[in-house]
Amino acid sequence: MTNLHPLLYLSALGVYFHGVYVSITLGFPVAIGIMLYLWSRRGDQFYLSAAKKMSAVLAVNFALGAITGTLVEFGLVQVWPGTIFAIATFAFAPLALELIAFIMEIAFLILFLVTLGRVKPAFSIAVLALYAAFAYFSGVLITAVNTWMQAPWGTGPVAKALYPFLPEFGPLAVDVQKLVALKMAAVASGQPVSLVLQSPGISEKIGVVLNDPWVAFYSPYAVVSIFHNILAAIVIGLSLAVAGWAYRYWKTGREEYLRIVKPLAAALAVLFFVQAPIVAHFQGEVVAKYNPTKFALMEGAKETHVNPLVGLVAFGDPNKPIPGFDGFYAACDALGNATVGDLAKQLNIDLAQVAGLLKLQFAPGVAEVKLADVCKADVAKAEAYMPLIFAAYYSKVAFAIVGVAAALVLAFTLNRVPVLSSVASALAKVVGGDEKRRVFLLAALAFVGAAVASVLGWYVREVGRKPWTVYGLLYPSEVVTPVDYAASPGFLAFAFLVVLAVNIGGLLAMYIVATRGLKFWRR
């Protein structure tokens, strides 16, 4: 069996690099838009220069985002080909619409870059807004797909049948018999799903599994995640822009850099304040409702217990207990002596017939495996992640608090608001140093707070749903490639090397673009 861990790390590396570029892709248009607006209102060329500088960084960033997006996409179908089944069903509509978003995003970005500074500001702002709109739309669609893996909306009580502590995932939009038969085939044969998918004519033989192609959009988890993820990306991108210009201000002492930082810091503070305490709260609520094991991991709940603060925040009821792993084991026991064979019988699934249709060899004795044992084994696998997820989650909260506090202090220090500015100035003095240094340090703290909170938040989101790739339905081993050498040291070394070289080189290029002037034409 393929060793999954290096492949998971490879995918995670690609996703994290992609996250860096997505943050700039979504955050920089806000900063560039503000600069263009100020240029149009005040006619100061310095704002146009700032917009151009950030647009050049955005262009290199976009190229890197596109290639890491390609990596993530190919990674899905290449390294995890079992996900092709999801792409052909639940993810079909979001990914098909994503084509619109992606192609329009590129078309408007090219138009914006080519015409910036050569057309009226209003035209540039309009094109930038269209580019940003499609970039955000792309974020909406990709988040919808990712969210389906967190809460497989449309599968109703399917996961609950094996894991009684799970909720139902929306209305039933699937053919339960076929979906469960496919899952049983993967479990019984020990083979990745892609080996089932690859036989010519198999799709026609299996027939319709999903009745509603749009079901991924109906998920309440998706709605909240969309706001949470996109806002997080904007905050990181914007905070990076603020930190970059604040650094210039600190190093050069030129007042025009402060004139750039001022409005950007105000926008950052507003968005960060909406994100950290408000949107994040709703995200926590849906996690508590739809990912009970993840929520228990986040709260370190080995045993079910009452925590008034968490109860109030997560459930709106301080007396409501946090479900712990003891409760999950007990729920598994409620399955009694029911076996895989019993479940198959209940759904009129003939395992021998399924094996014949899919041309697979089923392991002997699969029908006799007790469902409670499968359930408890998976709960134990999830529980093993507790120290990591608990630490990551609370570190994330701490960084978010630091970040939002720094953003607010910076904004109120630079923009006069009665009372709040006085408080902010007093707090800023805690940082020490002169005004220029304080501005930079606060901006850097806001960036670090936003970036680290997001990195850890994404870790909790992705690792917290283990041992499943699709929560309650599919394991990573069921969607991994059957190609053994994909996990060989040689291939992995090559893949890691390419990913690291390309991304480090790209980040270096972005730094050069952001910091160096042209040398060649002056020689």
Partner: protein, 358 residues
């Protein structure tokens, strides 16, 4: 053919054609730009031609990439069976292509934005990396095309349950197809640069681009027939269709190639009068060639000697395909092309892309 299958098949065909149009320009122009940049190390007068050649690439590359992404989504969404089969059996060729994409795209962005910001020799090295990495992309993906035309690795996999990671490159169809492809893109990219140089009355760039375009076109006159005869030996269905129902398309391609030889020869001798026609003629020949290669397989997705596996055998029947969404997507593709054309107009004709990055 089922409506969902038909729209998937047509959409896939459209995406492949659009992708091929843009990549032909970018791969060829990239190689020429790297060569000119290298020349500029000893003679700075080549720097402006190098930048002009590079302008095409910078404009078209991301747009060509997006069509590649569209192909992937069409494949996985509409044809999950063949996508699963390809990723399992052709893992290595696809991985090579992905690695090349990962090197190529940032190398382009780095080349553009570090021009004048790093030393010229370092910059020239980055340009060569950019240019050469591009040719590894069809080295991977053309292996997939060769497999659906005359299965080699897949045949071995289906017969023995296993295939060497490098089996796809053992296909004779692959090598002639790859040679045909490489020569086509180098020639097309150079002719595209020559055409815009003719429009700009830029004699220096025109001459070098025309020489490249015409020289490689002569090689193509041998590579095209070689591929044609390889098909006669290894893919009789495609060969017969090209000489049967698709004969008018073949004829149009040959007429375009003949016209291109004439225009190219005049350009080669430094005559700029017909130079602007070089790009549309070259691109038309490329489109016709790809249409023959892909459309010529008719109702079959995979051709195996005298037999074929129908498109429907690989199609998505796991859910009802939302046809309304598919039509909306196609509409947006058209809108994106209009926006892109507007950007190209500003960049190339209104000269909004400066010779130096700002």
């Amino acid at each position: 053919m089922d409506a969902g299958v038909l729209i998937g098949w047509a959409g896939l065909g459209l995406s492949v054609i659009m992708h091929v149009i843009f990549v032909s320009v970018t791969l060829g122009a990239g190689l020429l730009a790297a060569y000119l940049r290298w020349l500029s190390l000893s003679d700075p007068a080549w720097e402006v031609p190098a930048r002009r050649a590079f302008k095409f690439l910078i404009l078209a590359e991301l747009f060509s990439g997006v069509w590649g992404t569209i192909i992937t989504v069409f494949l996985a969404g509409f044809f999950p069976t063949i996508t699963a089969l390809a990723t399992n059996v052709l893992f290595t060729p696809i991985a090579v292509a992905i690695a090349a994409i990962m090197v190529r795209i940032p190398a382009i962005a780095i080349s553009w934005y570090t021009w004048g910001r790093i030393s010229p020799s370092r910059h020239a090295a980055v340009m060569w990396i950019m240019a050469i990495s591009g040719f590894f992309i069809p080295f991977g993906f053309r292996a997939v095309f060769a497999e659906i035309t005359a299965p080699h690795a897949v045949a071995s996999y289906l017969a023995a349950g296993t295939a060497s990671p490098f089996a796809a490159w053992g296909s004779p169809v692959f090598w002639t197809l790859y040679l045909h492809t490489v020569l086509a893109v180098v020639s097309t990219g150079a002719f595209a640069v020559a055409a815009i140089a003719a429009y700009d009355r830029d004699e220096k760039t025109f001459k070098v681009a025309a020489k490249w375009g015409f020289g490689v076109l002569l090689g193509q006159l041998a590579a095209g027939p070689l591929y044609y005869f390889t098909l006669s030996a290894y893919s009789p269905i495609l060969f017969n269709n090209i000489n049967g129902p698709y004969l008018p398309v073949l004829a149009m391609k040959l007429v375009a190639v003949a016209a291109l030889v004439y225009v190219g020869f005049k350009a080669f001798r430094g005559d700029m009068s017909l130079g602007r026609l070089a790009a549309p003629l070259a691109l038309f020949a490329v489109v016709m060639g790809e249409f023959l290669n892909d459309g010529g397989r008719g109702e079959y997705f995979v051709l195996i000697g005298e037999q074929g596996v129908p498109v429907a055998a690989f199609a998505n029947f796991y859910m009802p395909i939302p046809l309304g969404a598919a039509y909306v997507i196609v509409g947006f593709f058209v809108l994106a092309l209009i926006v892109f054309a507007l950007a190209a107009y500003y960049a190339l004709y209104k000269r909004f892309i400066s010779e130096v990055p700002e």
